[in-house]
Symmetry: C2
């Protein structure tokens, strides 16, 4: 695990040294503001770890790691406009602190900056790295579209939901480790395996987020559970409960998720969680999550790489996975 703390330090040092300045200053201020946040740096850390796993030199792809982090933060910035979100990591969102136009344009600039940083990686496989990144960027947009569409859509299947989170969040983890593996000249077989590892663990993480939001321990997560329920979000939990409930409970659940009725917030959370308990939704979601998690570990074990490095990656995945906050 020290190795992974070391990767995070490398990323944070590189981010501090990176100059996101430029003129006009007002265009670059929101970019620095966004990148200053204390994120987990999950994607860049995974990229460096994958590079290390196959015997590459993580220090040589720090620029690409910054590129991935820029892209991730760009998507959050534009998503926050679309979702009309007020806060992000405890700070005002860019479109609230400045305005929509600034958020659109600073976001566009960050997207281009992501390519600038990726392009600093001088590597014979740079075209393949950029191809993967570009394909991923397109898929992330598709995922965001499905996510917004589901809010308006009366019927969403679980398969559609899983596909949405795959596109919106999981493929970027796959892309991060794939670029790291390409930088280390891993074989095409291993590159594909580690990409699939990233996608599977990404889906598991998102299902975990859904679970923590509804059933998490407030003392550990730092926020009261039930945010997704209050926001009428069609999470895996909601869809699974809907799928398994009887006709009467189905109507009851749908009634709670109809925004034009007024419910007492705490009562709504309690009743929806009560329905989910009745139909064992938490356990079913956990099962689904564990399948993706187990698949991701299985894929890791198939890699041609030194055993101790695979073990370290497994430990890191486990550490991320066992978090209850």
């Amino acid at each position: 695990m020290e190795q992974f703390a070391n990767f995070k330090n490398l990323v944070n040092e590189a981010l501090q040294k990176a100059d996101f300045g430029g003129r006009p200053d007002q265009l670059y201020q929101p970019i620095r503001y966004t990148m200053d946040g204390e994120g987990k740096r999950l994607r860049p850390v995974l990229m460096l770890a994958a590079c290390d796993l196959f015997g590459g030199e993580p220090e040589k792809i720090l620029e690409a790691a910054i590129g991935i982090e820029l892209f991730h933060n760009f998507t959050l910035l534009h998503d926050d406009i679309m979702d009309n979100a007020k806060k992000r990591r405890g700070k005002d969102t860019v479109h609230r602190k400045w305005d929509n136009n600034t958020a659109i344009l600073s976001g566009d600039t960050m997207f281009a900056l992501a390519y600038r940083w990726l392009l600093k990686t001088k590597h014979p496989q740079i075209a393949e790295m950029l191809g993967t990144f570009t394909q991923t960027a397109i898929e992330v947009c598709e995922g965001q579209h499905y996510d917004m569409d589901f809010e308006k859509s009366p019927a969403v299947t679980i398969a559609e939901y899983l596909n949405m989170i795959r596109l919106k969040t999981a493929v970027l983890l796959g892309c991060s480790v794939k670029i790291g593996a390409l930088a280390a000249n891993a074989s095409p077989r291993d590159v594909q395996l580690i990409y699939d590892f990233g996608v599977n663990i990404g889906i598991a993480f998102q299902l975990q987020d859904d679970l923590l939001d509804t059933f998490g321990d407030a003392e550990k997560t730092g926020k009261a559970p039930g945010g997704d329920i209050l926001a009428n979000k069609k999470t895996y939990l909601f869809l699974k409960c809907l799928e398994t409930a009887d006709a009467a409970d189905r109507q009851k659940l749908l009634g709670f998720y109809t925004s034009n009725t007024n419910h007492n917030p705490q009562q709504k959370i309690d009743e929806v969680r009560g329905l989910m308990q009745k139909y064992d939704t938490e356990a079913l979601a956990q099962q689904e999550m564990e399948q993706y998690y187990a698949t991701s570990l299985h894929l890791l074990n198939l890699l041609y790489a030194p055993r101790e490095k695979i073990e370290a990656m497994l430990a890191y995945a486990q550490w991320l996975y066992r978090r209850d906050h």
Copy 2:
């Protein structure tokens, strides 16, 4: 000139064959809607022409040409949100026909698609092509920021205005011809010269747009002159008139450009044009424009390329430049 008509046909055929489809369909509909427009295809045509000029094979960079056209249309789409524009090439803008969120996200997707198409160009210099494109994309964002900022800014100098149009519109012409030249393996000297040609002729074109908007012949341009004046746009003409007018006329001009006073539209146009005539603004703007145009032709003449190809490019530039619509 037939050669250039041929390039345009090649581009339009490639665009027709190109599949901008995908799922979710509602994400891709606005992209097809935007790309269907009957544009001049100036940037892709210039790219093919530059490739041909240095003995390359234009057919081999049609994908990159589509990439440039996708990027150009992406910038128009996002600019239209920021400017709250209602029409584009006679059609409803995307954010009006759909909504802001769709316009933001379909725009982001188009930006990523531009890279996808550029990456289809298999060429040893692909990293340099993408580096040029990325640098240009960042500069176009900077230019758009200056443009929006100038609307709110009380004092804008002519140097600042020229820098804004260089960034917002001219560098993309430079980038287009540079990628064409790189594809044809032109020498670094020639690549730089043709880039500068593109930037200079781009600035000349923008000054011409300013001139046509205020002094153009409605029968030829298809629209009544004075749109920029009514929109209080700080064009070269406005800034030059302001710079040369005496104190009283300066106040008069500024008075017309204060949006919180009501003016009869035709009277406002007539009076502002009257002031511009008094200070010879049209001729001064024409002089400036001709300097950029002359520089661009001079740069073309310095290229190591077959004389007849340079002549063809000169004729095309002249044809674009002599348009009075």
